[in-house]
Amino acid sequence: MTTTLTGRDSVVVAPPADRAVGRPSAAGWAARGAVGAALFGLVFLFPLTRSGVDVNIYTEAVIYAIIGLSLNVLLGYAGQISLGHQAFVGVGAFTSAYMVTVHEQNFVAAVGIAVAVGAAQALILGLVSLRVSGLYFALVSLAYGSMAEEWLFNISSLTGGGSGQPAPKPSAFATDHRYYYLCLAFLALVLFLDWRLTSTKTGRALLALRSNPRVAESFGASVKRYTLLAFVVSGAFASLAGALLAHNTTRVVSSQFQFQLALLFVIMTVVGGLRSRVGVVVGSAFFSLASYLFDHLHLARAVGALPFLPNLSPDIAPLVLGPLLLLFTLTRHPGGMAEFLDPFQRWLLGERAKPRRTVTIDLREPRGSNGA
């Protein structure tokens, strides 16, 4: 972006090397269509060719995408560092399991209640965050997550203690395949809600709040109110994911929610790309599928070829590569995967680069004058 720094009273604002909207050609549309169809096939049709066990793993990836989106609301939109997010997910999981098993509610009611409880719990944490400044809240959330794992999820009467709580799938979606499509539907719902959130006043209020709380207030957006709203939405999404997760594995145990999970969530959202829906979804799915991919793409052999290093099994590989990716992202490419996923998405949806005009503004004139 070039601007001529003069002592003069007009400025020349040259266009950035950014994109602008143009229309693709017919060939362009054809290419886009082909890629779109391939993606559609991958997500919707490919799982039909795999066994239930594999589909189970894909379902988990979809659920992780929802978790990523929930953390994105808190970390990306509201700027709150939550290192205890696994607790939000766990609350949803246990509540739904509890409702189905102990109170014999049906699936829909159980999930609904789980969402409500998760949102309420997040609200409480949100109230704490209002009193405690950003970095310290990270500590509090970490301690909260640890406490949830060690105490909350071990209260036998609520959580079935050591052996956990059963959580059967709903009868209408009892097969692995059907459940996968159900979760995809929920993901679509969450994506829609997230899209509306960012396109309306809430999204802008959060943006202002994160960048400059005083400006947010001067625009009339209450920092308190919108921070709490972010927590509630985040908690709702997370506990929805937790409920879906519970019924996917059909049994919930407290050891599923260790604090390392919270850090994994942060990694997948940050590496995916904060504030980018595409980035977060792909990043979360990627990390969820990491062991699976590592195994199926035979990467273990590649690493095993290196001398002096013991075998890097598929289970362990993500534990090493994940943090490495995080550090790489933070230090070199803060935008994460979104740096190339966002342009890809724009391409797919039909944009094309076009040169933009230079704008001249004469600052002496109260209304300026626009020249081309």
Binding site: R196, T200, A205, R214
Partner: protein, 506 residues
């Protein structure tokens, strides 16, 4: 429309506002002036709800809003710009103007998230309003540019647009013309008058530029040290003795040792451009500044707030890098040299506000001043001795924590700390700030003694306190050098004219 009665605010151990009252009538443009630290921004914070006053009342349109939080006052019609903070970073102009219309959205937040039908229509309406506003302010082609990419003058315009977008009836502008050149300021003055007509807003404006205020405002208030000093018609205020004294201070007589004839050029500054913010589009603070400092002379750099005095010495000391231009010290180019190396070369700065290390003792502070030669225990001890001889007040306070010293003692400590590095060029930023004339006198005598021992001294001052001490004076205005001459030849009345009376060029 707005009434402030008897407000007092105290924080951080400082009385920021003391029993301040003012009123603004509907449709007026009111100016609020005063030297730095006078409490002007705190007053705005109280009016707009970012700070609750300890005592006093704020009434808006007859309604007591003293305890109302900031976002509720925005809803009531009070809009505001901020000094250097203004907008939502990382967002486009359009997003900012939409965000500013937060209260006019017409749907609740949850409705927005759920994507209810009403939201789509409302969003379209808000977008149209934003376009209309941008058109009025000449920002139409820029709606999709990120505000971080905009040059400074345009950025300020977007700020004003955002304030107007909040549909405010009372707009508080905090230093709207800082960083603007003379032509821009004229444009701003005209724009302000037009906005009052078009949007029917009432304006309260904090400004340092007294001539601009005189041109534009109906009524002016002057604050100093948290108190309302004077109010009235702009012209009357400019000649008010209290106001003049607040800005200029008083001369401090010093008995001087005979000074040697100023010698060769010691420090040469050529074509300096310094901006704050991103290179290429930040706020220009110094514009094409060129001057020289001669060996062993005593120079004072004068200027009002925002003139760029502190920026100048900070750049000389190496804390800031200029965008263009060069600095040469004793024949050697030091433009790119880091601050630490400049200390080694003999340039030391006593920064504005003393900046001692409050949790460390006096001895420790002095010891740190000799950081470049810290391993030489003897050097450090000798230096401490010397400083205590020059400043006897510090002699017995070696172990005392610097934060517990009085203002004057801290100033002496700061100078002493700078002396530990045995500078050849000593830069002192606002030595007299907050000090009584008696103590200021002592400080200047010491500076005089230092000068006679072979140190070139450059002082930065806002008022006239150092005129007696210095050989030569330079005046900075809005980042440009507008005057230089020897102090004996300078007419002191002329100085006053420069500060308070020079009209804005048309």
């Amino acid at each position: 429309m707005l009434e402030v009665r008897g407000c007092s605010v105290r924080f951080g151990g400082v009385q920021a506002l003391r029993d301040v009252s003012l009123s603004v009538r509907e449709g007026e443009i009111v100016g609020i002036v005063g030297p730095n630290g006078a409490g002007k921004t705190t007053l705005f914070d109280v009016i707009s709800g970012f700070r609750k006053p300890d005592t006093g009342v704020v009434r808006y349109r007859g309604r007591d809003v003293t305890r109302l939080p900031a976002h509720a006052r925005a809803a009531a019609g009070i809009g505001r710009t901020f000094q250097n903070l203004g907008l939502v970073r990382g967002a486009t102009v359009r997003t900012n103007l939409l965000a500013a219309q937060h209260l006019a959205a017409g749907y609740s937040a949850p409705a927005g998230i759920l994507g209810l039908p009403v939201t789509y229509g409302s969003e379209a309406r808000l977008s149209r309003r934003a376009d209309a506003l941008a058109d009025i302010l000449g920002l139409s082609g820029l709606m999709d540019r990120k505000i971080d990419e905009l040059p400074y003058g345009v950025f300020k315009r977007v700020e004003v647009a955002a304030a107007l977008a909040t549909d405010a009836d009372l707009v508080l502008l905090d230093e709207p013309t800082s960083g603007m050149g003379p032509g821009e300021r004229t444009g701003f003055a005209e724009a302000l008058a037009e906005f009052r007509r078009t949007f029917r807003v009432t304006v309260a404006m904090i400004e340092h530029d007294v001539p601009l205020v005189a041109q534009v405002c109906d009524h002016v208030y002057c604050l100093n040290f948290g108190q309302m000093l004077a109010e009235g018609e702009p012209d009357a205020l400019r000649s008010h003795p209290d106001v003049i004294r607040a800005y200029l201070g008083e001369e401090v007589p010093v008995r001087l040792m005979p000074s040697s004839e100023p010698g060769r050029p010691f420090l040469e500054v050529d074509g300096l451009w310094v901006t704050y913010g991103e290179p290429g589009r930040g706020m220009p603070v110094l514009r094409d500044l060129s001057f020289e400092v001669r060996h062993l002379e005593r120079l004072v750099l004068l200027g009002l707030n925002g003139a760029g005095k502190t920026t100048t010495v900070a750049t000389l000391a190496g804390l800031l890098r200029p965008e263009r231009g060069s600095i040469a010290f004793d024949g050697r180019d030091i433009t790119e040299m880091p601050a630490a190396d400049r200390v080694g070369l003999g340039i030391t700065l006593v920064p504005e506000g003393r900046q001692v290390f409050p949790g460390l003792s006096v001895d420790h502070n002095l010891r740190l001043g000799a950081w470049a030669r810290r391993r030489d225990g003897g050097y450090v001890a000798e230096g401490q001795e010397r400083v205590k001889r020059i400043f006897p007040q510090l002699a017995d306070r070696g172990r005392q924590l610097a934060g517990t010293l009085s203002g004057g003692e801290q100033q002496m400590l700061a100078i002493g700390r700078a002396l530990m590095a045995q500078p050849r060029l000593l830069l002192v930023d606002e030595a007299s700030l907050g000090l009584s004339p008696a103590i200021t006198q002592k400080v200047f005598s010491v500076l005089d003694r230092i000068n006679s021992e072979g140190v070139t001294v450059v002082l930065v001052e806002q008022g006239l306190a150092a005129l007696d001490y210095a050989d030569r004076v330079m005046i900075l205005e809005r980042g440009e050098l507008v005057f230089q001459g020897s102090t004996t030849e300078t007419d002191h009345t002329g100085l006053r004219e420069r500060y308070l009376g020079a009209p804005v060029p048309v």
